[in-house]
Point group: C2
Chain length 167, copies 2
Amino acid sequence: MASGTQGADERAVAQTEKAVIELFVRLAQVIGLQRTVGEIYGLLYATERPLTMDELTRRLRISKGSASQGLKLLRSFGAVRSEYIEGDRRDHYVAEVEVRHLLGGFLRERMQPHLAWGATRLNEIDQLVAVLPGDNHKVLKDRLVRLKRWRTRGQRLLPMILKLLRA
Amino acid sequence: MASGTQGADERAVAQTEKAVIELFVRLAQVIGLQRTVGEIYGLLYATERPLTMDELTRRLRISKGSASQGLKLLRSFGAVRSEYIEGDRRDHYVAEVEVRHLLGGFLRERMQPHLAWGATRLNEIDQLVAVLPGDNHKVLKDRLVRLKRWRTRGQRLLPMILKLLRA
DNA sequence: CAGTTCGTTCAATACCAAATGAACAAGAAA
DNA sequence: TTTCTTGTTCATTTGGTATTGAACGAACTG
């Protein structure tokens, strides 16, 4: 292969890498994760070979602290795992390329707690309106019934999405 | 009705109101909207009677600017509409009690653009990898195919959710 | 053992987006 | 017309949180 073509190759790969990182940075922002988390996952996703924390900090220009915390989060989501490499005591990280790991982990660890909190809160509100006399505050009661329907719906939605992730 | 019971009533209503607002504040935070937007929608949701901007700023202790911008956003979502009241030139706002208006508007105005952006970006990446020689970078190409599958999936998910909202 | 390497934690900092409020425009009232 | 009322916009301030980097513990190495 000619070295000119080779150079074009490298450029294309580098650009791709950058674009993939950008993609995951955006995804991270949309679902409310730190930009560094998106960067880390993006770089790992675009790289076949396992990377050390040191490589992540150098290539992404982020601090050791950010890398450590980002990787911790991504591991808790099951979106990244560390691979053992013979004769190197450093951790080597690879992306779980099934994106559902990232999204599934996010839903499990971040979304679910919110839904649970909302359900609890709605029950508490229920207690409050229960003491109100029957025909007064009819509209308020009606609206709360609507909200409770949403609790059910929301709790149904999560499994649905998870199922969709699996498909 | 005894005035003591009446007092208990008012307390319960006030607490309910507060709890409903809290609920929507949390929802707002989860989907990445400003706290004030959640507060506004929450108060309107908990109140039968249409409210003026002035009432919103006083009861929520937020600035006129925040109220104006929050209402603007909520109207753009179709989650709030203004009602004309005879002999009062001020705008009077009521919540669209179908929560799907809020979520639907959010998906339409906020989520959809991100998906569109991602789709465009993926096409650009496609162009980049297209120039790479066949068997090299096989893994990279494979991973991009995975991402493209997600574009399709994401674009399918949105209508699904919208349908669920309607149900 | 002392000296390195590696990863984590957390207090300090830097950054950014949300909230404010003054200034403004458009009507209405007087 | 002038004066109020009402709502919007936008430059500034504020508040919250993401990122940093120093300090630390643990686990190797020589």
